[in-house]
């Protein structure tokens, strides 16, 4: 819903929240169901109401637990039975600088200030650890917004007695913990309050009247920002850009003006603004975001523009460049198909409102930011939180190379008459092993965002995966070939019970479809079962809007269908024998990494 995207009218949303909710419930299903506990240090009622809307807009239907007023600490530490019974999937601790009890006074010694800082910090750390131990779920914690006033003026951020200094140091301690513990996510309200303006963010009127630590008129901004982390946790980040060229990446029309006359680079103010925007886009490659072009142009003109001496973005920075006269929705869908991504994982950027309208009205779930003039493009995209990073993995850095290699493979396959020959020519090597700490972050990432090749679409937090590694048969698979390393591309979890292994999870990244990796994984599962004396594997398929491609997956592998209910949920079984013959013929599965 456009009304819930940046730049929205927060007060309008607040006054319309009931009718907006009805509309979202009608239009946006099916929803992912999640239980969210909000432990507040100030009033939280509007937080739940507004967060609810932003999450519904992302396809997440939340049930909320709200602590009694300012009871966050007691709820966290003393296991409120109501909270225990609620069994949250996610906990949000809504504290702010009004909850800091031990600010330094001017008379404190440096050692006393250090004690106050440590005590304040430890109360939080104690809560996080206790909550995590009890509920094993992700925790989101606000850091601290700057204080409302500065006794020492600008010196407040310099001297250890200053509240600005104190809160800055506390925030750094929070960040240090979050760096080392992936279950803790910081909601950066220090930054958010700067964006909104501290005077509006911490308006004392709402604190004294209603004990709201965040101004009610900007509560929507607060919840929007918070919803970015939550949607990222549940795998709803965007993955790629589709970019227009003329007047989007540079000033001017390359076909009319000629590449030499485009505004880009350091010569003019306008050129500098386009340079900054290109630099912003290019840096997204390093966090694994794929760049693509859809432009109404002759291809030769588009390339001439991108090869402009002063362009930061070069043709090589893009995965797919569609420069033609076809409608842009067709081009965008074609790009999605070539990259094996859902069209809803794209962000479409175009200066032309008519093009934006065609895209947003024909492609469900795609994001189309309203951009105005080039000096504002960065902000108008960035504030959406499309690519909220929870943790950087090495895969993010090399994702562009992997996709590029994939496109090359697609080229190669055309040169072979026989698909087997093509597979053999790839010289594939795989590692298939039980979960290992080194890959946990990537395994969690893949588990929570794979939708298409996913038999059960069961989502796991990293902790749950770590637990599974102890109690279940777990498998991760890496695949490399002569074009490059794909990294971890497949994950499976089976629960052994009696003589049967129940497959609770089996998923694979679509970038390695039709490479026989699923056969190699089946072989590995069978061998693990046989070595542990198991006789049967049971597979489960639960249909979703996106996983029809694996409807008959187990059947194709030779499993027998035991049952199927009216909703299409099916159960399959495979009997194992010692004479099992490996199904994979083209991938060399190795014990250790070369």
């Amino acid at each position: 819903m456009k009304e819930l995207e940046y730049p929205f009218d927060g007060e309008w949303i607040l006054s319309k929240k009931k009718s907006i909710k009805k509309q979202l419930l009608q239009e946006n299903g099916p929803f992912l169901q999640k239980k969210i506990a909000v432990l507040g240090g100030s009033t939280t009622s509007n937080i739940c109401a507004l967060l609810d809307l932003f999450l519904l807009n992302e396809g997440i239907q939340a049930k909320f637990y709200e602590s009694e007023y300012a009871q966050y600490y007691a709820d966290a530490m003393f296991d409120n039975p109501e909270l225990v019974e609620f069994q949250p999937d996610l906990i949000f601790i809504h504290t702010s600088n009004v909850n800091v009890k031990r600010y330094p006074t001017i008379r404190d010694s440096a050692a006393e200030i250090e004690d106050k800082l440590t005590q304040t910090y430890q109360e939080f750390e104690g809560m996080w650890e206790h909550l995590y131990e009890t509920y094993h779920c992700p925790i989101i914690q606000n850091n601290m917004e700057p204080p409302a006033y500065r006794l020492l003026g600008n010196y407040d951020c310099v001297d250890l007695h200053g509240r600005v200094s104190f809160l800055n140091r506390l925030n750094e301690r929070f960040a240090e913990y979050a760096r080392a513990h992936s279950y803790l996510h910081l909601h950066d309200i220090a930054y958010l309050s700067a964006v909104i303006g501290l005077d509006r963010f911490s308006d004392p009127f709402y604190w004294h009247m209603y004990k709201y630590a965040v101004g009610v008129p900007v509560m929507a901004d607060f919840c929007y920002s918070l919803s970015h982390i939550i949607k990222a946790i549940y795998g709803k980040n965007k993955k790629a850009f589709v970019l227009d060229l003329d007047n989007t990446l540079w000033g001017g029309i390359v076909g009319d003006d000629g590449p030499e006359n485009l505004e880009v680079g350091q010569e003019t103010s306008m050129g500098q603004a386009y340079d900054a925007f290109q630099t912003y886009l290019k840096s997204h490659k390093d966090i694994g975001i794929l760049l693509n072009v859809s432009s109404k142009n002759e291809e030769s003109n588009a390339l001439a523009g991108l090869n402009h001496r002063d362009c930061v973005l070069k043709p090589d920075d893009f995965m797919v460049i569609k420069a033609n006269w076809d409608p842009k929705n067709m081009n965008t869908l074609a790009i999605a198909e070539e990259l094996n991504l859902g069209a809803d994982s794209f962000v479409f950027v175009d200066d032309n409102p008519a093009e934006r309208e065609i895209i947003s009205s024909t492609i469900k779930g795609i994001s189309v930011p309203e951009i105005s003039t080039v000096d504002k493009y960065i902000r108008e995209i960035d504030r959406h939180g499309y690519f909220e990073v929870l943790k950087l993995s090495n895969d993010d850095l090399s994702r562009n190379d992997m996709y590029k290699a994939n496109l090359q493979r697609a080229q190669t396959v055309k040169n072979f008459a026989d698909y087997g020959q093509y597979l053999a020519s790839l010289e594939m090597k795989a590692i298939i092993k039980p979960f290992e700490p080194l890959y946990m972050a990537r395994i969690a990432q893949l588990t929570n965002k794979s939708n298409q090749f996913n038999l059960t679409t069961k989502r796991y937090s990293q902790t749950e995966l770590e637990e599974a590694a102890q109690s279940r048969f777990t498998f991760y698979g890496k695949l490399a070939d002569k074009f490059g390393d794909n990294g971890v591309v497949t994950v499976a979890i089976g629960k052994p019970e009696g003589d049967t292994l129940h497959m609770e999870l089996w998923l694979m990244s679509c970038r390695v479809l039709k490479r026989d990796m699923e056969l190699a994984l089946l072989d590995a599962i069978v061998h693990r079962c046989l070595s542990k004396g198991l006789k049967k594997i049971r597979g489960y398929y639960y249909p979703t809007a996106k996983n029809a491609m694996v409807k008959n997956f187990y059947g194709d592998l030779g499993f027998t269908k035991l049952s199927e209910d009216p909703e299409g949920n099916s159960v399959w079984e495979l009997f194992l024998s010692e004479g099992y013959e490996n199904k994979n013929k083209y991938i060399n599965v190795m014990e250790e990494e070369a």
Partner: protein, 80 residues
């Protein structure tokens, strides 16, 4: 703005905030008369009224409003 005009706009605000097209308010209406009008919803109502009329209430004014008529008096004084 006349008192009647103020009430026309105000009724719309009440209808939106409480999501009920049937609501009409008058000078004597209080929180007791509207089912969802509790202290938490009160703040949202105040914010919506402020936005609708382009005004701001201060702490003293908000705490002294006992019935809708008091609110309308303030709205008329502030928009005069």
């Amino acid at each position: 703005m006349t008192r009647e005009e103020a009430y026309q706009k105000l009724n719309k605000v009440f209808q939106e905030v409480f999501d009920d097209d049937e609501i009409t308010v008058g000078d004597a209406t209080t929180a007791k008369d509207i089912e969802d009008w509790d202290s938490l919803e009160h703040i949202n109502l105040i914010v919506a009224v402020e936005k609708c009329f382009g005004i701001k209430f201060n702490i003293g004014e908000v705490t002294s409003m006992k019935k809708v008529g008091d609110m309308v008096d303030l709205i008329l004084a502030k928009t005069a």
